[in-house]
């Protein structure tokens, strides 16, 4: 798809050239946290709870301390000396190592730093722990019953952010619920005027991020004057703040460095390996590397399973009027990012449609399972699954084509999502029409059946607010005497292409080729502040900061040249590190050395971006941009086995302006395949509090041969984005519509409605049997 804008040709924007990290990554030269190796570095391993829920009567680690090669042992006895040995986002409930209780199978009980991993594990095996097993909580709906076991008898420290119009939050609103987010707008009696009210319940499965680079850090607290930390982490400044609080350190004594990250998909926000490694490093006086196995990753962070109850009021012509919802998110044993995910799942549950009345309650329910946290889509995946399924169901109940029903109710371009919010920055109908065309949706009635195999098509529109909440970003652009550009900002390269896209923006503003830009290594000591690499915010939030920084540097350069040339800066242009004035070209390097001496100079521009705070906006500030993923699927359903084959999957996002087309495609297709796997087979299977498939062999992620025979994506460039050159964020949108598009296609094919993920053959066959049984 070509740009809809009439932008002039550019040096860098929209070019499908090699990514900035291509050479390093295809030649094995890229440095990741797993590659960091310090002199004298020790290796950490941990002992994890074998119980889903238990009180710890006693821990005896004396034998471990005496073992050869062991330099530090960390149990609750040691963490008692740490100022605040708990962590979490809104709620500080996760201990560095277990204190009074363990709350899930895999909870960390003790840690050892030793000369090598083998020595550490041998020491762990010598630790004796006396557990008193307690009843487990694993069911979302009964977790708040009065007789349910309680994960936290005492309230951990927590906060509720200052929400705006219609939104509110509450800590511990009921038993085993750590947080509730609520939102309400419009007249409470709106359901009374509806022709129909439909109530449906949806269940959402749980995946693990399965990032290939494990959770890993190297912590060096061997010196008294400060700590150095290399970590595979999405938000180094947030982690710095947590570490300062936990250990009582000044933030200017903590250096957090983030090399390339080998995948995260949300999991590497906030503290994971860092507190254990730092505590051990301090005890041992040596640097400590703590690298989890992939199996331990399953026990560290996951997506949220969910139950979503929707009540939707509608007129008989299909006009949506009112939506009430109750959402239960399985947050696992510690809150991690759950309150934020609750906020987002709750906020996004009305989807990209116009309602007069919305009321939402979303609960973070604690269970004795691995902690859940941020996962690509961030509550939007859960919300889109329920929302886009129910729209289809309602359309069919009313005898309206599901596509027409969507058309009728979609928010218009520029229309606020809810009162106080920013306007919709994609033409939602344009994207939907594209899917209809690409899929051949109008011809679906003519799809051939093949014996027991029936075919159908479905559509969905995934929706989320993008760019994070109240998110500040700062960038610095330095240009040296020779025109070499240093880009400093805190957006980490996690595979999404941030180095490429942000460097392209800086280069474009400075009239340079992208190859002149070096994206500087991230170190919280030197990198400008950033809230974190998440919420698809790279180009839409940091991109604006980088754009402003580059323009500030450009202005300085032009003003310097104007002073030298004795003219107004407005007469000058900058290209190829020359000042252009009409037909004249003035090389900058000699001009700079004339003024500043032979060592030359650096021009430094800074740029800041943050959405303005607004009490009228429900979530502190208006949404930066709206991330939309349109999807369509054609399925073949085997009515004898229940097997669903996705024959065609088409997804499309709106990049606003595709700064780098290959990067945009990669984000959409990677997200779509994750959604496809969740729709069909990928899931964490729990048997009570025990994870059944927490390893690479039994936990199935999609392989190349899981791709549909016809799998396509299109990057729209509608041109309405707030980012540089009209760009919008990418990365999560195309995951959101996939599961519901497939469920809708199954309905189209065989007339059954599946409301639980994944869409297994077993569920298909059970629904077919139920349909045939009057």
């Amino acid at each position: 798809m070509t740009a809809t804008t009439n932008d002039p040709p550019t040096r860098n924007i929209g070019r499908a050239d090699r990514r900035a990290d291509a050479r390093e990554k295809v030649s094995g030269q890229g440095v990741y946290t797993v590659d960091i190796d310090l002199p004298g570095m020790l290796h950490a391993r941990v002992l994890r709870s074998p119980h889903g829920h238990a009180r710890i009567r006693a821990i005896d680690a004396s034998a471990a301390r005496a073992m050869p090669g062991v330099h530090a042992v960390l149990t609750r006895d040691e963490t008692a000396a740490i100022p605040m040995p708990v962590y979490g986002y809104f709620i500080k409930d996760q201990p560095i190592v277990a204190t009074d209780k363990v709350r899930y199978e895999g909870d960390i009980v003790a840690a050892v730093a030793a000369e090598d991993e083998g020595a550490a594990n041998r020491a762990l095996a010598a630790i004796r722990v006396d557990y008193e097993p307690l009843p487990v909580v694993t069911d979302l709906e009964s977790a708040s019953d009065p007789d349910a076991a309680e994960l936290f008898e005492d309230a951990p420290v927590g906060i509720v952010p200052k929400y705006g119009a219609g939104a509110s939050g509450a800590l511990r609103p009921r038993r085993n619920v750590c947080y509730r987010f609520s939102y309400e707008t419009g007249p409470a009696d709106a359901f009374a005027e509806c022709d129909h009210v439909f109530e449906d319940v949806f269940r959402f499965s749980r995946m693990h991020h399965f990032h290939l680079e494990p959770f890993v850090c190297v912590a060096d607290w061997s010196r008294e004057d400060g700590v150095a930390l290399w970590t595979s982490c999405q938000n180094p400044f947030a982690v710095r703040k947590e570490i300062a609080r936990i250990f009582g350190l000044a933030e200017n004594r903590i250096s957090v460095r983030v090399p390339y990250i080998g995948g995260a998909f949300g999991s590497k926000n906030g503290c994971k390996t860092e507190p254990v490694a730092l505590a051990l490093s301090r005890l041992a006086g040596r640097p400590v590397r703590f690298c989890l196995t992939l199996e331990e990753g399953f026990l560290t962070n996951t997506q949220h399973a969910a139950i979503l109850k929707l009540k939707t009021g509608v007129m008989r012509d299909g006009t949506l009027v009112a939506r009430e919802s109750e959402i239960l998110l399985d947050s696992g044993a510690y809150s991690d990012g759950s309150p934020l995910v609750a906020e987002k799942a709750g906020y996004r549950i009305s989807g990209p449609y116009r309602y007069r009345r919305i009321k939402t309650d979303c609960y973070s329910v604690m269970t004795n399972t691995a902690p859940a946290g941020p996962f690509r889509g961030f509550g939007g995946t859960q919300a889109s699954w329920a929302c886009e399924s129910q729209i289809d169901m309602i359309a069919r109940r009313l005898g309206i084509d599901p596509c027409e029903m969507r058309h009728k109710n979609l928010i218009d371009l520029g229309e606020p999502f809810v009162p106080g919010e920013s306007g919709m920055d994609s033409d939602l109908r344009e994207g939907l029409d594209l899917v209809v065309r690409e899929l051949g949706y109008r011809r679906r009635g003519a799809l051939p059946d093949d014996g027991a195999v029936k075919r159908g098509m479905g559509l969905a529109i995934g929706f989320k607010d993008g760019g994070g909440i109240n998110k500040p970003a700062l960038a610095r652009v330095k240009v040296s005497t020779n025109g070499d550009i240093f880009l400093q900002c805190g957006t980490v390269e996690i595979g999404q292409g941030a180095h490429t896209a942000l460097s392209a923006v800086a280069a474009e503003r400075l009239g340079a080729d992208r190859a002149r830009v070096r994206y500087m290594p991230i170190d919280t000591d030197h990198s400008p502040f950033d809230q974190g690499t998440n919420a698809s915010s790279g180009i839409a939030v940091m991109g604006q900061a980088v754009d402003r920084a580059a323009l500030a540097a450009r202005r300085q350069i032009l003003e310097f040249a104007a002073g030298t040339l004795g003219c107004a800066a407005e007469e000058l242009d900058l290209a190829g590190w020359e000042i252009r004035r009409g037909n004249e070209a003035h090389p900058l390097a000699p001009m700079i050395m004339d003024r500043f001496g032979g060592t030359g100079w650096e021009f430094v521009g800074e740029g800041f971006h943050k959405a303005p705070n607004s009490p009228a906006a429900p979530l502190e500030s208006p949404c930066v941009f709206w991330e939309i993923g349109w999807g369509g699927a054609q399925v073949a359903v085997d009515t004898e086995t229940g097997k669903v084959t996705v024959e065609t999957l088409f997804v499309t996002g709106d990049a606003g302006r595709a700064i780098h087309p290959l990067v945009c495609r990669g984000q959409d297709e990677g997200a779509a395949v994750m959604g496809l796997a969740q729709a069909l087979f990928e899931r964490m299977i729990y048997d009570g509090s025990r994870l059944v498939n927490g390893d690479a062999l039994t936990y199935r992620v999609p392989l190349a041969d899981d791709l549909p025979a016809d799998f396509r994506s299109v990057t729209q460039e509608q041109g309405h984005g707030p980012g540089p050159f009209g760009a919008k964020g990418m990365g999560e949108g195309a995951m959101l519509p996939v599961a519901s598009a497939i469920a809708n296609a199954i309905h189209d094919a065989v007339g059954i409605r599946l409301t639980e993920l994944p869409l297994t053959p077993e569920r298909v066959l059970a629904a077919l049997a139920a349909k045939d049984t009057p």
Partner: protein, 281 residues
């Protein structure tokens, strides 16, 4: 990950394993002697599995590296049976013309593992890993084959079910798989419902010339269950339903329920019977 005492779970790896002696036998006799005489011997071939086993707590006393035992590689026909050397890789097996003695076997074998694994992973390793996800056991069960173990006390043949029960003689070495070439023996292997379940069907004629058949179903989490078929009828669905009526009621796992495994399994079996021309679909 595995449990240490009652204290908890640890994440193990090869880095936990103290260095061990490696024996490289030059013959099967050498290998059997090493199995008999070395401390805690662990036979080792393609290497795709031991790593996982160690992570689950397996220790290594002496590694018996079988790589030089070319006599355990490849396929042959001996005494009316297809003999498959334990060290035959999946890629070799799927490409073997000899394997064509059982129609359908090569095609089925070509589905085991992914290319990287197929090039190194062996028939014997697949069987001896005793992982429910692995599939050689399913094929061997369907084909009525046995696994031959050599030990200082001689050779023993075990059915796949006996291998699941760990009935092999102590300190024995799997040398080959043996599939009796019954008349008109042929195989169909259906993986369309993977990862939940896969299903093999073998058909043959017994000494009296009667049509015989066996279906084998396995899941990600359950070892294979064999169902003997009554092929006296001609209606594939009828045969399949009758066979699956014998599936134990507790044949179910955390990912798949018994009722669905029966229904879907019977539907697949009817198709498999039709594909092999044993009955009308």
């Amino acid at each position: 990950m595995y449990a240490v005492a009652e204290a908890g779970l640890i994440a193990a790896s090869y880095r936990d394993v103290p260095p061990f002696p490696v024996v490289v036998p030059a013959s099967v006799g050498d290998a059997v002697a090493a199995m008999a005489g070395e401390a805690a011997p662990v036979p080792y071939a393609g290497g795709t599995d031991l790593c996982g086993a160690v992570r689950e707590g397996r220790s290594i006393g002496t590694l018996i590296w079988l790589r030089r035992l070319d006599e355990l590689r490849g396929l042959g026909i001996e005494d009316g049976a297809l003999s498959i050397g334990a060290l035959t890789t999946h890629a070799e097996g799927a490409a073997s013309e000899t394997a064509g003695a059982v129609p359908g076997l090569r095609e089925a074998w070509s589905k085991l593992g992914r290319m990287r694994i197929r090039l190194s992973g062996t028939a014997g390793g697949n069987l001896m890993a005793r992982r429910t996800r692995y599939e050689m056991s399913i094929l061997l069960t369907a084909l009525g084959g046995t696994a031959r173990f050599a030990s200082a006390d001689g050779e023993t043949g075990l059915t796949p079910a006996e291998i699941w029960d760990r009935r092999e003689p102590p300190r024995s070495l799997l040398t080959r798989l043996s599939i009796p070439l019954a008349a008109d023996l042929r195989l169909d292997y259906d993986r369309s419902l993977r990862p939940m379940t896969t299903q093999a069907l073998a058909l043959w004629r017994d000494a009296a010339g009667r049509a015989r058949g066996r279906a084998v179903i396995a899941t990600e989490y359950l070892p294979p269950a064999a169902l003997e078929l009554d092929l006296s009828g001609t209606d594939a669905k009828g045969i399949a339903l009758a066979a699956f009526a014998a599936l134990p009621g507790d044949f179910a796992d955390p990912a798949s329920g018994n009722a669905w495994l029966r229904r879907a399994g019977a539907a697949l079996l009817a198709r498999q019977l039709a594909r092999l021309g044993a009955a009308r679909g």
